[in-house]
């Protein structure tokens, strides 16, 4: 993707996020949730973006492990997407907590979806820690891809486990919003879904590029440093010929 295209994507992303925030703030307060009902414009979209980015990490990891599609590209996509996913997942938990405190009366409840999201964040942090371990690039890529896939496999099991354990969370936000909150809320949330998806795509491109540069630095850095030191050294003098 060219620099120009990336910049346009960035502008679109920022404009959409700005629109989401504007639409969210313009929403009326509700009787039940007072000012906090406006969180619907950003909280479900953030959760959606965190799931999408986690899914992309798992898919890219599978493509990296598959011998026919193995390329450094997929490893970098997986790593970049996981970092963004960790940020979105953390933001999902934070916005959920801010909403939960006045609505449920506590910052945290052991509800199925919250617990699953927290587990996902823990899995992502482990994955990112593994990626940060220095070593051979190929070995690291394979190890990371295996962990990403193992994490993706465990998510459905986690889902059932925490679902059976306890459930207090709202039903799907879209269904609920349609029934009780009305048009403007649904519209703000849907714009939010698009906005955070585009924002994710933009961040992914940027983070991917930084990872590529880190890669290049790792591979070429030593050669460049050696050449620079050599250039600094005084040129050897020709031995003087004694007549």
């Amino acid at each position: 993707m060219t620099r120009r295209a990336t910049n346009i994507l960035g502008l679109v992303a920022l404009a959409l996020v700005g629109t989401t925030i504007g639409m969210g703030l313009a929403l009326p307060r509700t009787v039940e949730q007072h000012e906090y009902s406006r969180m619907i414009a950003i909280h479900p979209p953030l959760a959606w973006a965190s799931y999408v980015s986690f899914g992309v990490t798992a898919l890219a990891s599978a493509l990296y492990l598959w011998p026919r599609t193995r390329s450094r590209f997929w490893d970098l996509v997986a790593g970049a997407s996981a970092e963004i996913s960790a940020v979105f997942t953390a933001l999902t938990l934070v916005t959920g907590s801010i909403w939960g405190r006045p609505t449920w009366g506590v910052w945290w409840v052991w509800d199925a979806r919250l617990t699953l999201t927290a587990l996902m964040l823990a899995l992502l942090l482990g994955y990112l820690a593994l990626r940060r371990v220095p070593g051979d690039i190929g070995a690291r890529g394979k190890r990371s891809a295996v962990v990403a896939l193992a994490s993706a496999l465990v998510i459905p099991i986690d889902h059932f486990a925490v679902d059976w354990w306890t459930t207090l969370h709202q039903d799907s936000s879209i269904e609920r919003a349609k029934d009780t909150l009305g048009g403007p809320f649904v519209a703000a949330m849907l714009v939010g879904f698009v906005a955070f998806t585009v924002l994710y795509a933009w961040l992914l491109v940027l983070r991917f590029r930084v990872e590529q540069l880190e890669d290049r630095y790792e591979v070429e850095g030593l050669d460049v440093a050696l050449a620079a030191r050599r250039a600094e050294a005084l040129p050897l003098r020709e031995p003087e010929v004694v007549a």
Partner: protein, 222 residues
């Protein structure tokens, strides 16, 4: 594959029988965890009896980390891992063998901890079938997941700190499901205990299959 697994498991268990690290260090550690829980939660108010299942499985989980770390530490000395790689044994067999040896040690430890919660927490063991089925299936899952992450972290300098960070979130459903099933068996809950055993079974199958497939490539990189 199964012959190789038996060979590797036999080797690991023989090392264990001779070095007695599990018996002299891991088992006392696990019992100590049970005792520390009693200090943390007031035993006089019946909290321990109610929480016995959860505390038991947390102790098992921590001990499983030690068992997995030990399982790969014995391969670190004298480049034993390279020897294993060059031995021509099927990597899937090596995985099953190592996981099997870890599972065998954990099962022995679970018996000891079971005696521990009866003695220290005044827990009455009912529903033997559910207790034993849960313990076996959960242990297979723990050992398989631990062995997958164990080989991943084996060659790394930061393995001691990295392994818990990778293993604990991954085995969280085992802790949840095994605790719920045991609560039913110990008469603390009226839930359907067997559906939790089924979930543990799915976890075990997923990680055993994953380990059988992924252990070869991971061993090459370790």
């Amino acid at each position: 594959m199964f012959r190789d697994a038996a060979l590797v498991a036999g080797k690991d268990l023989r090392i264990e029988a001779r070095s007695r690290v599990a018996m002299n260090q891991v088992a006392p550690f696990a019992v100590l965890v049970l005792i520390l829980f009693a200090f943390a939660l007031d035993p006089d108010h019946g909290v321990l009896v109610k929480a016995a299942a959860g505390l038991y499985w947390v102790a098992v989980l921590f001990s499983s980390l030690l068992a997995v770390q030990r399982s790969f530490a014995v391969e670190a000395a004298d480049s034993a891992r390279d020897g294993l790689r060059l031995s021509g044994l099927d990597p899937a067999g090596i995985f099953l063998g190592k996981a099997g040896a870890v599972a065998a040690q954990l099962l022995a430890l679970e018996v000891l901890l079971g005696v521990g919660i009866v003695a220290f927490y005044d827990t009455r063991l009912h529903g033997a079938a559910l207790l034993i089925a849960t313990a076996i299936v959960a242990t297979i899952g723990l050992a398989a997941a631990g062995t997958v992450y164990g080989i991943l972290a084996a060659g790394l300098r930061v393995r001691e700190t990295l392994l818990p960070l990778l293993v604990l979130p991954a085995v969280a459903p085992v802790l949840l499901a095994a605790t719920r099933a045991w609560e039913v068996a110990l008469g603390q809950s009226a839930d359907n205990g067997w559906r939790w055993v089924q979930l543990l079974g799915v976890f075990a199958v997923v990680y055993v299959a994953f380990g059988v497939l992924a252990f070869g490539p991971l061993m090459e990189e370790s």
